[in-house]
Structures are given as structure tokens and as C-alpha cells.
Symmetry: C2
Subunit: 161 residues, 2 copies
Amino acid sequence: ENNVVTGIACSRDEAKLTLISVADRPGVAAAIFTPLAEAGIIVDMIVQNMSEEGRTDMTFSCPVGDVAKAEAALEAAKARGEFNYRELDKDTDVAKVSIVGVGMRSHAGVAQKMFKNLADDGVNIKVITTSEIKVSVLVDRKYMELTVQSLHDAFDLDRAP
Amino acid sequence: ENNVVTGIACSRDEAKLTLISVADRPGVAAAIFTPLAEAGIIVDMIVQNMSEEGRTDMTFSCPVGDVAKAEAALEAAKARGEFNYRELDKDTDVAKVSIVGVGMRSHAGVAQKMFKNLADDGVNIKVITTSEIKVSVLVDRKYMELTVQSLHDAFDLDRAP
Ligand SMILES: C[C@@H](O)[C@H](N)C(=O)O
Ligand SMILES: C[C@@H](O)[C@H](N)C(=O)O
């Protein structure tokens, strides 16, 4: 597991926005990202999980500086009836921390090690998303340095090359 | 937008498993992936969105052939009190479809175009996750070929080089 992860990435200038309780019907995701694209919001992460009773939440991240513009664009589209949501949750207190490794054939082992490391530090995971070469989590921003250092140690990344 | 997306990836041999209503406390994600790693389950996607009233869902994908082993490992860990969930939702009828592009600085525009394309084909999006170079969705497996062809057309990828 150790030599599979070759780096830790982090970023603290993103905010997390979640549209709580959107309809799980074709067209809803397109309707949500139309006003965001038109307003020129730079969206990084997009996370949606399975629905329950026909509703689900839609989360995305954008620069902290874009939050007001994103909210205005979404509220205007909602007022025009383009889609509906119960509430827009804005969290500007997040940091994204990722473990990076090209050979992560099975995420289960490296993910478990990453999550266990965060748990041992008492850090709660707000959001998780993965790609072929990364496992990324959103955590409280105050834990970013601690988490990055702790993961460096856990995956033996501190050794000088 | 068009020349930013350079390819469409797809895979139909993954299943989607969702642990519905897990506790949003440090240590829970680590506890869930421990039995999966020990059982040698090859996990590809991991998706968790923000929690509500202290509970959230944990979704992961694994090869269709690993579903029974994954379920047994999770049920055994639950029986041992290592974590709790209300229900394990198993969906073996999914396909993963991704748009790929290195310069996707802002996902909002390309994501909106992808989601609109799926909506126009009447394809419902079950799960969404992104990385720096990809937007990936899980859809009903029966729509995989249609979706891949439709996205090729939408992003002008069919032109001979
Ligand atoms: C929630 C949203 O993703 C919806 N299922 C859609 O297809 O647009
Ligand atoms: C739900 C799960 O991610 C939990 N928040 C944890 O940190 O383990």
C-alpha cells in the first residue's frame, strides 16, 4: 500500500455548496449547472449520491470568491421554476485533501488507511470522491495542515528521495 | 467547450453498492473500508455527500463478481458492531460513463453540456463524481451505448483525426 501513494494534494480556497433535496429526474442536473456555467462559476468537484424517495442532494465546490455569485444564480433559476431545492447549504470552511497514486488498482486498501488516519486525528470527513489516481475528501479547513502532515507520515512520503 | 473534452470512457462491469444511513462521525468511513480491503474487494469509485441530521450514505463501486463477497464482509462487520447502516442497496444494473479532458478548468460548462445531453436522451443520472480531468456518471446499463454515442456527437469527437 505504501509505495502506491506518491503524493498528497490539498487546497483551501474552495467552498462547498449543496442543493438539498433536488428531484431525481432527467434534466435536473443540467438545469442546475446551466446558470452556474452562464455566470462563469469555476466549478471543481461535483458530487451526487443515489436518491431516496425520488430526492437527492447535489454538491459542488467553487472558489470562495464565487459563492455569492453562485448563490444568486441558483436562487434566480429556482425563482424562474427551472428546478427546485429545499435549501442551499454553503460551507466556506472546508479544505480538500487528496492522496495521489497512479497504481491505486484497488482503492479499498489505500482509502481505508487514509480514512483511519483521519479518524485517529479526530478529523470528520464531510465529502468523499475518487478518481483513478486519487481519493479526495473535504474536511474542516482548520485540520488541513494536520491532515496533510499526518498522511505524509502514514504513507511514508517524508523520506528524502 | 468542444475542444476541451477529448474522449469518452465507459465501463459496464461495475456494480454500485450504497450503505444507506451511516453515522457521520470520525472513524466510520475507515470502519466500512476495513472489511472490504481485508476481503480483497477491488473498489473503484467512492462517493459520499454531506450529512443531514448526523447521517449520510456511503456509495462505492466494485466488480459485479465481487458483490456477494462485499455484502458478506459488510454484513459480518455490522453484526460485530463495527458500524451501522439501515440498508445495503445493491445495483448491478449500472454503467459508468465519463467525459475526459485535460483542460477542464471549469467543469460547469462541460458538465452542463454532458448532463443536458443525457436529459435530452431521457437518461437519468444515478451518481455523479468528478476529478481534474473527468466528469463521471452512473446510469442504467441499458443506456450505455446510446449515451456514449450521443456524447461523442455532442462533443464532436467523431471526426476522423
Ligand atoms: C439529480 C439529477 O442528477 C437527475 N437524476 C438528473 O438526471 O438530472
Ligand atoms: C461518514 C464518514 O465519512 C464519517 N464522516 C467519517 O469521517 O468517517
